[in-house]
């Protein structure tokens, strides 16, 4: 279980987060939604242990997080891939850092590339890929190290509506298949409702928790067509609009 307790973060005079508390169960998916600049990326960095909060703390399986969390993989908004590495090398990077043997690495990476439909592009550099392919590479790289926790910062925001739905389905199936704990930052209400078993709504900066909404029906591709789904979207939209002028 991931437990964020009373976390605040200031960058100098800028208060980015204030007294944020939330819990994500093991194997659960959680969507974090909030206006631009409210501290979503900051929160994700704090959960992954890469950034120290100004106050408060994060616990994972009851252990306090003091440095980079080992079994977590992070996919960052816009900086997810290294443009100077080929698709193959990007995906292999985590394994290489861990000192995995080359033939084990090769097998693993090629398996992932195959699975994600990237096999033909293994020698390409990211700039030659479409947005959707880049995101798949970023996800493949995160998965290569078999993380128990997957943290994603607006992974689909650069995609057009159609590829976005495809990638949402992809993430949904991935989550069901691998049983990873997934935390996903998004701007989109529909995406939050489609992917988040728990939806955390943050206020404008400084980000505070405005509401935590449970979304138990999540988990099927045709959830998008169901009445409950529309209800949830409406509910979230109302929460966001309350007090916002």
């Amino acid at each position: 279980m991931i437990s964020v307790r009373n976390v605040s973060k200031s960058y100098g005079d800028v208060r980015a987060l204030e007294d944020v508390s939330l819990e994500v169960e093991r194997g659960e998916s959680c969507a974090i939604i909030g206006p631009s600049g409210c501290g979503k990326s900051t929160l994700l960095l704090i959960i992954s242990g890469l950034l120290q909060p100004s106050s408060g703390e994060v616990y994972i399986e009851n252990k306090i997080v003091g440095g980079p969390v080992k079994n977590a993989a992070l996919i960052l908004q816009d900086y997810g891939l290294f443009p100077w590495k080929t698709v193959y090398d990007n995906v292999a990077l985590g394994l290489r850092i861990r000192g995995v043997e080359r033939d084990v690495e090769r097998e693993k990476v090629e398996g992932l590339l195959e699975k994600f439909g990237l096999k033909r592009f293994d020698r390409y550099y990211p700039k030659h890929l479409s947005g959707g392919m880049r995101q798949r590479v970023a996800i493949a790289r995160a998965l290569a190290v078999e993380p128990e926790i997957l943290l994603m910062d607006e992974p689909l925001s650069s995609l057009d509506a159609l590829s976005r739905e495809k990638m949402q389905n992809f993430l949904l199936n991935l989550w069901k298949e691998t049983k990873t704990t997934m935390i996903l930052v998004t701007h989109s209400i529909e995406e939050a409702v489609f992917l988040g078993k728990k939806i955390v709504v943050l206020t404008p900066r400084p980000g505070r928790v405005k509401a935590i909404v449970n979304n138990p029906k999540v988990g099927k591709e045709d959830y998008r067509q169901e009445e409950v789904y529309f209800e949830k979207c409406r509910e979230i939209r109302e929460i966001i609009e309350v007090g916002a002028t």
Binding site: K70, F82, I97, V145
Partner: protein, 247 residues
């Protein structure tokens, strides 16, 4: 596509060269003074003195290459490690205080310290290059987005990994550009460094033939020096294209 671009560049270099030659020819006809021989005369003397000149060109080339290597091997780590605030606090003031000083005036000092041998010459060129490369490398290293660092740290990277997989490759394009620019400086300083206490190098040939009013050799040596700078520049450009294929 890539090939097309390269071909186009080749043609445009050639076009520019032809225009320059035509201008040169026109000017030499117009002025009609032995101080400006026409291009074909220079070319002829370049060919005639090729054997003699190539010896000097090799010496000059070695001096520049040693200087580039020396400067790079000091400036690269100093610049890259300036990403660490502790290192930067130490190195940065030093660089920024000493950078604006015209280092060329250090030649007498170097000759007093290191003697009149080639080391003084190489050291002088290297000093000047050091600052150009170090300043650019430092800025490039410090501009690498913090988010790339987060990204690699989340994969469990050590400090060394961060440099190896992120900071150095990210800064590389700017560093090579700095190297490329510094080639021009290096050749200019080379000329100065070869202007006395030596009887080798293209700089020496230029000055010597100048004093003897042997303009053909002088121009041949000038052309050879330009060629030397140009070839180094091209080599670095090829290296850049290879190393920074991802750009």
């Amino acid at each position: 596509m890539q090939g097309d671009k390269r071909d186009n560049r080749g043609w445009s270099y050639l076009g520019t060269l032809i225009i320059l030659l035509i201008l040169w020819k026109g000017l030499s006809v117009l002025i009609a003074h032995p101080a400006l021989p026409s291009p074909e005369v220079v070319l002829a003397s370049l060919i005639n003195s090729a054997h003699e000149l190539s010896r000097h060109a090799a010496v000059s080339l070695l001096r520049v290459v040693y200087a580039l290597l020396l400067a790079f091997s000091l400036a690269f780590p100093a610049g890259i490690l300036s990403r660490e605030d502790t290192v930067d606090r130490l190195i940065s003031p030093l660089i920024y205080l000493l950078y604006p000083i015209p280092h060329i005036v250090l030649l007498p000092l170097y000759i007093l310290l290191f003697g009149i041998g080639d080391f003084s010459r190489v050291a002088l060129i290297a000093t000047i290059l050091f600052f150009q490369i170090a300043v650019t490398t430092r800025d490039a290293a410090r501009q690498v987005s913090e988010y790339y660092i987060y990204s690699i740290k989340s994969l469990g990277a050590s400090k060394l990994d961060v440099y190896r997989y992120v900071i150095i490759p990210a800064a590389m394009p700017k560093i090579i550009t700095a190297l490329r620019i510094s080639v021009g400086t290096a050749v200019a300083v080379l000329f100065f460094a070869e202007s006395f206490a030596t009887n080798t190098g293209l700089g020496y040939v230029i000055l010597d033939s100048w004093s003897r009013a042997d303009y053909e050799i002088m121009y041949a040596a000038i052309a050879a020096m330009a060629l030397l700078g140009f070839s180094l520049y091209i080599i670095l450009e090829i290296a850049e294209r290879r190393i920074c294929r991802w750009m």
